[in-house]
């Protein structure tokens, strides 16, 4: 088993290196850090000095090496826009994004899976057709539009829920902040979480349904029926178990999508997370933030892929048999 993890980790390293390279290339070659940092009125001598300070007159690979080295130490340089260290900016925003992403994922899973199972078992019922029609609209609805419509309905129209910001937060530990401790904090989370989770949920529902339909057509389900097993044990025992194996892994991979889609949701709701930070950075070509974000996201994805692979390994006995 350790061979398995080891080989996966080894495959991950080149990916990270490539992404790191791209991130660095961004940092160094796109835009002109010197003129941005020095300002418009700097003299040629000042620019030269700055260039030297930033190490821009060193050969390419030396700069790349320095970049990686400082990055490994958590130093990504300073943001062009707000002159704060990028690392601390990201750290500040991370809890907000993670809380939102996790809540949205849990919602999507908790609603999507049962709906998928139901429409898989009762293919042609009225409720199933309704759910499938709804899911089609869900897929056609861009996330930001859903957010706006929800705001229109629940904030402007009914005035039940807040439409922007995170509400009161409480500090936990050295740098984490959470909104879960107060009712107001949770209220602020509801609309964004639904918005973010909706796309996921429709995807999960359609996936689970498709898998269920496939599984229900297999020979072993036919044999289970021929043995007179109850519908309940066929649907929720045999079929569901076989359905969830591929589904869980795909959901895990999708989690990365949620983290990325959060940038749209955060923009609509002005949620102070990493996504909003990225959007603000792209708008002004704040390269340090962009490249750090890229690296961080790559790391997150690699980690998620690894966890998913491990999950697959744990759940499917056939994989464990192969040595």
């Amino acid at each position: 088993m350790f061979g398995f993890i080891g080989s996966r980790l080894l495959q991950a390293i080149p990916v990270l290196l490539v992404v790191g390279f791209i991130a660095f290339a961004l940092f160094d070659y796109v835009g002109d850090p010197v003129s941005i940092l020095a300002g418009q009125d700097a003299t040629a001598a000042q620019r030269l000095a700055l260039s030297h300070d930033l190490g821009l007159d060193q050969p390419f690979f030396v700069q790349y090496g320095r970049f990686l080295w400082t990055a490994l130490h958590g130093n990504f340089g300073n943001s062009y826009r707000v002159a704060q260290p990028v690392a601390s900016l990201l750290a500040e925003r991370l809890p907000a994004t993670l809380e939102l992403a996790i809540t949205a994922s849990v919602l999507a899973f908790a609603i999507g899976v049962p709906m998928g199972v139901y429409t898989g078992i009762h293919r042609d019922s009225f409720l199933s057709r309704l759910m499938m029609a709804g899911s089609l609209i869900g897929v056609s609805l861009p996330t930001f539009l859903l957010g706006i419509l929800l705001i229109l309905a629940f904030s402007v129209g009914l005035g039940w829920l807040p439409s922007f910001g995170r509400g009161p937060v409480v500090h936990v530990g050295s740098w984490w902040t959470t909104g879960f401790t107060s009712w107001a904090g949770i209220r602020s989370l509801i609309l964004p979480a639904i918005t973010l989770g909706m796309f996921q949920m429709t995807l999960i529902m359609r996936l689970v349904r498709a898998e269920m339909l496939e599984v229900l057509r297999t020979d072993y389900i036919k044999f289970a029926r021929a043995r007179g097993l109850t519908d309940r044990s066929i649907n929720f025992g045999h079929a569901l178990k076989n359905t969830l194996v591929p589904v869980i892994t795909i959901i895990g991979l999708q989690f990365g999508g949620i983290v990325a889609f959060s940038l749209v949701t955060e923009t609509v709701f002005q949620w102070p997370g990493m996504g909003l930070l990225l959007v603000q950075s792209v708008a002004v070509a704040d390269i340090p933030v962009m490249s750090a974000y890229l690296l961080l996201i790559a790391l997150v994805f690699v980690l998620i892929n690894l966890i998913v692979d491990l999950l697959y390994y744990a759940v499917d006995p056939r994989l464990r048999a192969r040595r």
Binding site: S140, P142, L145, I148, F261, A283, I287, F301, N305
Partner: protein, 301 residues
């Protein structure tokens, strides 16, 4: 030949599926409205001279103070929402089509190459595709957009923005096409007629283009249709985020962004109507794509 097409399985399937016909009709209506907007639209929202602040914030029909000259109301500068939507659809559809076209061309090229050449070329190309696929396309599009915009000198930025967007979205979508084409190529490559052609000495590129390509068109069309929906949503999202098209060529996404500011002051129509149009457009495309996929799926026949 036309009767043969009419009686073919695909056409029969289409004719008898109310969903397919309805969504195709809807898509057609929207397409016509968009293409002929300059002639069909009641007003020209780009023409600054025709605007009057007196007309600003007129509500849509059904509410007080509305009238037929602006059936969907006007925005803060007096622009007619209906006309803005029609012009906006043009841009949205144009960018969507071109991005998907770009993705298809690149995807087919890389897919054919990977599938036919095999070996290390195949592995490397597919690795790149796989890595890119683990990132959501919107993120890729956003970063590509940001990077290129930053790289361009200020003066050219606005003029080239639309091409940058098309490129960015296209780049974010190519792996889907490449993988499918590669899969089909691998299947076809091992078939006897390809081997026969090679034995005769037909050059590889010709085999790829004239033999493999036609067999691959089906799945490409399905992914293309669904990809069109994705591309349109991607463009709308980018425009909404403010990193998309410049305000002088507003797409539906840009219109929604404009209107977002007025939600709380009660002028909801400026954002909602473009939004509904976007949903309808993508819905029609997705329905068609779904139908196409089911119709072409050999297993369901």
């Amino acid at each position: 030949m036309l009767t043969r097409a009419w009686n073919s399985d695909l056409a029969y399937n289409f004719r008898t599926s109310p969903v397919a016909v309805a969504s195709a009709a809807l898509a057609l209506i929207l397409l016509i409205a968009a293409t002929f907007a300059p002639w069909l639209a009641p007003h020209n929202p780009m023409d600054v001279a025709s605007l009057s602040l007196m007309d600003s914030f007129k509500p849509p029909l059904g509410m007080a103070d509305a009238d037929w000259s602006n059936p969907l109301g006007t925005d803060n500068q007096g622009r007619d929402v209906l006309s803005a939507i029609m012009y906006g659809m043009r841009i949205s559809l144009l960018v969507g089509f071109l991005s998907v076209l770009f993705a298809i061309v690149v995807g087919i090229a890389i897919g054919l190459l990977a599938g036919y050449a095999g070996g290390i070329t195949d592995t490397m190309l597919m690795r790149v595709a796989d890595v890119q696929l683990t990132f959501p396309s919107i993120l890729t599009a956003l970063l590509v957009d940001g990077v290129i915009s930053a790289a361009l000198p200020h003066t050219m930025r606005e003029a080239l923005q639309i091409y940058v967007i098309i490129f960015a979205i296209g780049i974010s979508l190519w792996p889907n096409f490449a993988r499918t084409v590669r899969g089909s190529t691998l299947v076809e490559r091992n078939k006897d007629y390809v081997m026969a052609a090679r034995v005769i000495g037909v050059p590889s590129w010709r085999i790829m283009l004239s033999h493999v390509l036609p067999n691959v068109i089906g799945p490409v069309m399905v992914i293309g249709t669904l990809g069109l929906g994705l591309a349109i949503i991607a463009e709308a999202t980018l425009s909404f985020l403010g990193v998309g098209l410049p305000p002088t060529q507003p797409s539906l996404g840009t219109l929604i962004r404009f209107g977002d500011d007025f939600l709380f002051s009660g002028e909801w129509w400026v954002t909602v109507f473009p939004g509904l149009t976007l949903i309808l457009m993508v819905l029609a495309i997705n329905l068609l794509g779904d139908w196409l996929r089911d119709a072409l799926n050999p297993r369901l026949r």
